[in-house]
């Protein structure tokens, strides 16, 4: 089921807590599933002693994936036609992230009704970690 165009207005929004107290284990799970084994995400010794960071941090794509859950929960399964983001700050173990989508346009294209969404994901300090846009088919 998708959203209904006649019940949608520019400015409508939806948000979800997409992770609470992010664990190092979830970052390891993402490495294993995605195939991105960059040691900055799971190798404390490398990341602190060689790469020069205070600890391991999440893959940008993990944050994009978790933010995608908020999106599909809002627009419905299989409805996205576009999803794009910028990674604007790093995500660390212990972070609690909230993802938000806001309707920026409702439009017709090729006989389909589409909505454009502005997306942002913030951490517990209200700092943006990800910003982006998406487009979805609605009913």
């Amino acid at each position: 089921m998708g959203l209904k165009a006649d019940e949608l207005n520019v400015g409508d929004s939806y948000s979800e807590v997409i992770v609470e107290d992010l664990t190092r284990t979830q970052i390891v799970q993402y490495a294993g599933a995605s195939g991105d084994y960059n040691p900055v995400h799971s190798d404390e010794k490398f990341v602190t002693e060689v790469a020069g960071y205070p600890t391991v941090f999440a893959h940008g794509m993990l944050t994009m994936g978790m933010t995608g859950r908020m999106l599909t929960n809002y627009v419905g399964d299989g409805r996205l036609t576009y999803y794009g983001v910028r990674f604007v700050n790093q995500v660390w173990p212990g972070d609690t992230l909230t993802a938000r989508a806001e309707v920026s346009e409702v439009r017709e294209e090729d006989g389909q009704t589409l909505i454009d969404l502005t997306i942002s994901t913030t951490n517990q300090d209200e700092k943006f970690v990800l910003t982006g846009n998406a487009t979805a088919r609605v009913d």
Partner: protein
């Protein structure tokens, strides 16, 4: 990157959905998925990125017979000579690569959503490249790449645009 054969399989989708904390049954439960508008299990929107698993040359995965740049007995696998494996850390080691920069942007255009049974191929072409100055990180070098994912019939299913950035200095947030 060129991936000749990226088989989309249900167990991989399950593990991927789990890793992003998404327990939506559309990603794991065939009978639920069959009863929805979508009609079958699909993959989460960012799953195409897991094509890395099927890229024989993917640089962020250890490869048989090649030294890996992450830690083993010492903090960096790249910078330690075989005859000199011990636990001391030198300044040289600290200059080790952190794997060619960070991911700055990622965009997906969906022509249709991926599902178990798809056998994709992917071809990547370089896009634009540009530089920016930043107080926090020095010179930032951006470069774009475009990947087209096609299914076994040659149909374009997902187009991905990725932007990477290499910074002069480490950014700690």
């Amino acid at each position: 990157m060129a991936v000749e054969r990226f088989p989309v399989e249900a167990s991989h989708i399950l593990m991927f959905a789990r890793s992003i904390g998404d327990s939506n049954p559309i990603y794991s439960d065939e009978s639920h998925a069959g009863s929805t508008e979508v009609g079958s299990i699909i993959a989460p929107p960012t799953f195409a990125q897991a094509s890395a698993q099927f890229d024989p040359d993917y640089f962020l995965r250890p490869k048989d017979g090649q030294k890996w740049f992450g830690s083993g007995g010492t903090a960096s696998g790249t910078l330690v000579k075989d005859e000199d494996k011990d636990d001391s850390k030198s300044d040289d080691e600290k200059s080790g690569s952190s794997a060619g920069g960070l991911h700055a942007e990622q965009h997906f255009t969906y022509h249709r959503h991926l599902k178990p049974g798809d056998v994709l191929s992917a071809e990547t072409k370089p896009g634009e490249s540009w530089e920016k100055e930043s107080k926090r990180a020095g010179v930032l070098k951006f470069s774009e790449s475009i990947t087209e994912y096609r299914d076994q019939t040659g149909e374009l299913v997902v187009t991905a645009r990725s932007v990477g950035v290499v910074t002069e200095k480490v950014i700690e947030q």
